[in-house]
């Protein structure tokens, strides 16, 4: 009984199926409480009034966009080195989820930017590097889709993901390295976070909620990819027979 036994698609399919309902319920709970606290309980901001509440979606989405990219690149690298099928499937399952979070972060940021900054979009380092992240996700998916053999596609896409990983620290540190319109980090700042606890609590709840949502949705995506790829094997056929 080693940990690597979970890398077998059959065993993974079984135990992930048991996890998903629990993770789904936890996602609903965290997001429900987080949104309620964020939209109704947290006080208005001293400068931005009510408009700041969009950050309860914007900030966790932006964090997720970077986090998922790292997961994708690491899974890709593991797939390249150890040739494990499951990590290739994981990397592939991450891409559309990460791209969606990146898009959400960009759109919510633009909607907030217009009334607050006076512009939907500016070409500052933070906004531009986040847009590049969206293009990296899209490039990953396009490259993967353009190669017919899924194993070869996974290897090519993993190399692209690894190349793009340099963008992650650039996004994070852009607000410190250069003069940007985007404000510096509030939560991960050295010393105390410069955000009031009554606003920080819902923000962190939302962030954890997004993380659990990501795990749930990625497990679901991986399961369907496994079924598709292993459709000619005996265990999938047996599974289909017992289900029907």
């Amino acid at each position: 009984m080693k940990i690597t036994k979970y890398a077998s698609p059959v065993i993974f399919y079984g135990f992930s199926g048991k996890l998903i309902p629990w993770l789904g319920a936890l996602t609903a709970l965290l997001l429900g409480v987080g949104l309620y606290l964020g939209l109704f309980v947290a006080p208005a901001d001293y400068q931005q009034g009510e408009s700041y509440r969009i950050m309860f979606i914007h900030v966790p989405s932006a964090w997720m966009s970077m986090f998922i990219y790292v997961v994708m690149a690491v899974a890709g690298a593991i797939g390249l080195v150890w040739k494990t099928k499951l990590s290739e499937i994981l990397a592939s399952a991450c891409a559309p989820v990460g791209a969606s979070f990146t898009l959400i972060a960009l759109v919510t940021g633009a909607l907030w930017g217009k009334p607050m900054w006076g512009a939907y979009w500016v070409w500052d380092a933070r906004l531009t590097s986040e847009l590049i992240l969206l293009f990296l996700y899209i490039g990953f998916m396009a490259l993967e889709a353009s190669i017919d053999d899924p194993r070869r596609a996974a290897r090519a896409a993993a190399v692209l993901a690894l190349v793009g990983v340099v963008n992650i620290p650039i996004i994070h540190f852009s607000v410190e390295w250069w003069n940007t319109l985007h404000q510096p980090a509030s939560v991960t700042k050295v010393g105390a976070p410069s955000i009031h606890p009554s606003m920080l609590a819902p923000l962190l709840l939302m962030a954890i909620g997004f993380k659990v949502y990501f795990v749930t949705i990625v497990l679901m995506r991986m399961r369907s990819t496994i079924l598709l790829r292993e459709k000619h094997t005996r265990w999938v056929n047996e599974l289909l027979e017992t289900k029907s």
């Binding site: 208005a44 400068q47 404000q183 955000i195 606003m199």
Partner: protein, 148 residues
């Protein structure tokens, strides 16, 4: 085991190589990545005099003056070392206020005044309820009045 380790090393070396390369590239383009210049940069001659650039800083307390229908406005942008008067005609963003960050896009004139075509408000990283902000302000003001 050997080829696997080699592959791993190649990947690590590749990522490190790319990071160093992009670090150098970004460093080389540093001046082009600057979103705005501070008034000190302008006085140090770093900002372009003949074309449009962005001037960033804090709106000086008590410097905002509005004229006529309220669309014409002038104010002083400062970085607490140097300051530059800015003239602007147009709609100001919600977060524009005195003692808050601002970024104005426009051209510098010969007399070191700035004609802005666009004004953006720069938000800082602080989030708090109004009561907390008031309390902080009172706390900041009280030692000053005690000294007087």
């Amino acid at each position: 085991m050997k080829p696997r380790r080699k592959k791993f090393a190649i990947i690590i070396a590749g990522v490190i190589g790319l990071s160093v390369a992009s670090l150098f590239t970004l460093n080389a383009f540093r001046s082009n990545l600057v979103f705005f210049y501070s008034p000190s940069d302008v006085f140090a001659g770093e900002a372009p005099l003949d074309r449009t650039f962005r001037l960033g800083g804090v709106v000086e307390k008590g410097s905002v003056k509005k004229y006529g229908d309220g669309l014409k406005v002038d104010f002083i942008v400062t970085d607490f070392k140097q300051s530059i008067p800015v003239y602007y005609e147009g709609i100001l963003p919600d977060l524009f206020r005195e003692e808050q960050g601002v970024i104005a896009q426009g051209k510098i004139q010969a007399d070191k005044t700035f004609i802005a075509a666009e004004v953006l408000a720069k938000h800082d990283e602080n989030y708090m309820p109004p009561e907390v902000a008031d309390a902080l302000e009172r706390a900041q003001d009280s030692p000053a009045t005690a000294n007087n």
